[in-house]
Amino acid sequence: MPDVIRAEKLVYSYSGNDRRSLNGFSLSVRQGEFLALLGHNGSGKSTLARHLNALLEVQQGELTVAFLNAKDPGNVWKIRERTGMVFQNPDNQFVSSVVGEDLAFGPRNFGVPEEEIPGRIRRALAAVDMSGYETHSTHLLSGGQKQRIAIAGVLASEPDILIFDEVTSMLDPEGRRDVLDTVARLHEEGKTVILISHYIEEAVGADRVALIHDGQLLAAGTPREMLTDLDLLRRTGLTPPVPVRLYYDLRSRGLQLPFCPLTCEELEDLLCRLN
């Protein structure tokens, strides 16, 4: 699979801020990949996401998104059409309080013919499991539903790449699960997914995990490689998942275990085997 995103030595500092928010960040993402990007507060995750959607101009370094050079100003709108971005706060993403109208906003901006739009809205709502909500008011939805409508608003433009910037951090556990299920399903349907988070558990199901720290890529690899490496996680400023923490605690107390569990299911497995 070719690299649909390629970032090389990106450097970015916001005006009025001496600190480099990105400080030589390099990363490639393959087409159809599910990448989880983890880092603590202020590590530069959102700054990177805004680059991938051409919301910020490249200051230094190289960046291609959807095989388009992001440094070419003529590519800005094409890149925004090919990449969809969902943000943290579900209340701050709607232009219309009517679901159907809001979903039509993206396609209209990108010049999709008017007669094609109802079909797109229907497909987008089906993809987030909210069919039939066209005439609902966004003000009356739960947080998780709002966030799924926000995802549908992005899907209506039919992008190949989806970027989720901490989309679950303002949701209750149920809303979080629904949104994460939707994200996983979209990946299965062939979209390239970049899930930004500081909840480490959300990265377990990803194809690959990238750790960002102080605007630099610290490491990237499979969830198992990344999330069971205590030293690496400590340097990133993240707490390991509970099963991993438990494994190391038990080991330091002298209990020999056959493998390090990553999820609760694996932990159960392990405990059953001990018995």
Binding site: R50, N53, R80, S97, V98, E101, T135, H139
Partner: protein
Amino acid sequence: MRQLPVGLYQPADSVIHRLSGSAKLLCMLLLLIGVVNTTTLPGYGIWVLLTALLIRLARISPGTALGSAVRLKWFFGVILFMNLCFYQPEDPWVRWWIFSPSYAGLIQGIQVVARVFLLLAMSNVLMVSTAPLVMTDAMERLLSPLRLIGVPAGLIAMILSVAIQFIPTLFEETDNIRKAQTARGARFDSPRLWDKAKAVLPLLVPVFLAAFKRADELSMAMEARGYRGDTQSRKKKYPPFQTADWLALLLCAAVAAAFVMIR
């Protein structure tokens, strides 16, 4: 279910819902001209009937249509009182301290209240029967002649529409912050004005900061979804007026003209 904020679009299939947004907006302006030119009691009677008819035609409940006007009852009371006591000090019933209530003042007060009430009810019919972005397009269309003198019609329309839709969210947020600060000892319901003011001021700061943050995030989300503001390269095509639109305009123009001429 939370109570639906008044003035929010409610989808339905009615004659009024089906009219084009810009026709509805123009009709509203015409009716406004008619209302402010009404000076007789029978005239107001006709307006009450017309408004009731509009509410019926739009198939919305009277509560929804009149809710925001009813909620302003204190404001109406103050207007009535001010007009009654200060409108015509030359020929009062009685004179007491600075107050000089008069017959002319009473009539004037009732007129102002009636006009504001009617306009609120009619604009509610407009808002409830028109989807937000349809309204945005309508405003943009009516403002578009101003483009010739460099007014960014599309931007103004979008800003107005987004601002209106943010009102319920901001109310909710204010309420949340108020609760949080009450829990920490702020005294919003203290009878002493000074305590009240001390409680309200720290409330305003986070509400404003939150509003700015919201605006910032929303603008980013809109850009990400391809919004280009007024420089939108593609020329927008507005749907042409249908027979019903022309008919509505004609009726409203006739009503407005009648009231202007009677006066």
